[in-house]
Amino acid sequence: MNKATTSSNRHYILQSGDFQRLLDSIIGNGYRCLGPTVQDQAIVLDDVSSVKDLPVGWSDNQQAAAYRLQKNGSPAFFGYVLGPGSWKKFLYPARERLLTTTRSRSGWKAEASAEPVQKMAFLGIRPCELQALAVLDKVLLEGTYADPVYRARRSQILVIAVNCAEVGGTCFCDSMSTGPKAVSGFDLALTEIITDGKHHFVVESATAKGDEIVKLAHGVSASDQEISKADAVSTAAAKKLSKKLNTIGVKDLLARNLTHPRWKETAGRCLTCSNCTLVCPTCFCITVEDYTDLKGNSAERVRRWDSCFTMDHSYIHGGSIRNTPDSRYRQWLTHKFSSWWEQYGISGCVGCGRCITWCPAAIDVTEEIQAIRDSEKT
């Protein structure tokens, strides 16, 4: 989890046949091991304890509003790109009870809800998603009020990244400088290599914990040649990325186009369904609800994921501020690519492409931004 410079990192070779040992050593170290599994015709992040749980031989085909999982016969453990759900769900749960209060003779007694937190290992987290964690860290841990729910979970995770060998049709990580190779924010970063009937991983370790885990799994030191083979996998992956976003001046581009006709045009297609914000690994909006029992003797405060696409999100006395679909679409796009910079000094988008794949209306953020950029040329 510690940020480390690549130069001081250690490199190991882990044979695919020893991968079960890696899982065993993660679990043996007290972690709940979470990673990719195949469920409901998609890659779903869930508990993983055996190599058999991994999506061996599955790949995903992604484009705007379409995702198809395919069996491709490859021996690869990590031959897919990204599923719909991000790691956010484990660190920032969709629903969380914050507070319980009970009425007693002496008045109301409030108790903060502290659900026990288990140590988690994130196995297979992609480079863009490492950056998403860095973004969430900025939003939720820095400043006057750190989020206790996120902090309790975040402080205990073991991060085992997997560099991308394949890229998705909606990925644009190189445009956002977040991938396809992990540079920081991990304990271990794996590159899967399948050549000449051999199948192994080049493992980069940035922390002592990472060293310990990989050694337990019988990892041995990698040669410079083997390390450069891993680098070649990442270089080849970067070449495959077809979707691009011109990010030059994007913050100001959007900020000076708040009355652009494009917002209305896109709102004609936008379903205001919220899917883009919910799949986005950095969207953090929540709402807080209070519930009571029938007698009014106990109450609880619950928070759950919300989205700027709902009317309630901008509701103040008298009505919703963003009551048109164009104002809501604009809020989403400008927050991710423009006002996020003002708030947090970084981009709110990491280029994972999920909002494009999982938008039922096939709206593509990169096309939207490009359209606004192009309109300024004429």
Binding site: Q39, D40, Q41, A42, V44, A65, A66, Y67, R68, L69, G83, P84, G85, K89, A94, R95, G268, R269, C270, L271, T272, C273, S274, N275, L278, V279, E289, D290, Y291, T292, D293, L294, K295, G296, R304, W305, D306, S307, F309, T310, M311, D312, P325, T357, W358, P360, A361, A362
Partner: protein, 259 residues
Amino acid sequence: MAQHKKPKVAVWKFASCDGCQLSLLDCEDELLAVAGEIQIANFLEASRAVVNGPYDVSLVEGSITTPHDIVRIQQVRKQSKYLITIGACATAGGIQALRNFKNVKDYITAVYAHPEYIETLALSTPIAANVEVDFELRGCPINKYQLIEVICALLNNRKPNIPKYSVCLECKQNGNVCVMVAQGVSCLGPVTQAGCGALCPAYNRGCFGCFGPKETPNTISLSNRFSDLGMKKDDIIRIYRTYNAFAEPFRKESEAYER
């Protein structure tokens, strides 16, 4: 509502299947607790005992389909402090509102041996089209937890947590995989109000729209998407014409495809 006095609650039935009332009985675990906090004054599905009005709360199931219904709902309104409609029939006219798209006389002649005995209105209408309604609970049938939430909120003088946003929010909160994107299955979730817990997508099926239109539904865009997925005109008309066929956004969308 005063703490010491139990509110008098009445349940009324109009044109409906009784399914929503049964949701109340289905509250098994919670039913005793609910019964302890309210006085059930009129609930024929549960008991023959009837207490006269006025009532603090009336839960109304069913749509208005006969001249007699109109008289009756006006009486219910007069006797009730709060009137809450429960279910798709009461809030949108129900599945029986399919007749609104045709001439009801044709049906009567086709179905009944003595059509002259049948006294019915041309339209099946929601309660709110006839009298003022304080709160509408959606669903076909309603979700019993939402019903308990509304009763709880009423008893404690707070706003019920009944969101008007899309089923997609619940779908994603529950960690379902979107069936429309991952399988190309048509789903009404993006235009339908949440409340069911995204039940159908959890079982790999598209949403049927039981909870009716959400806030700001963009049916035009969704229908375009359905066409892209290969749905024919007739199928698009049909997908909007179920339990909430007469709810305005669904009605308009299906009619647009009839032209």
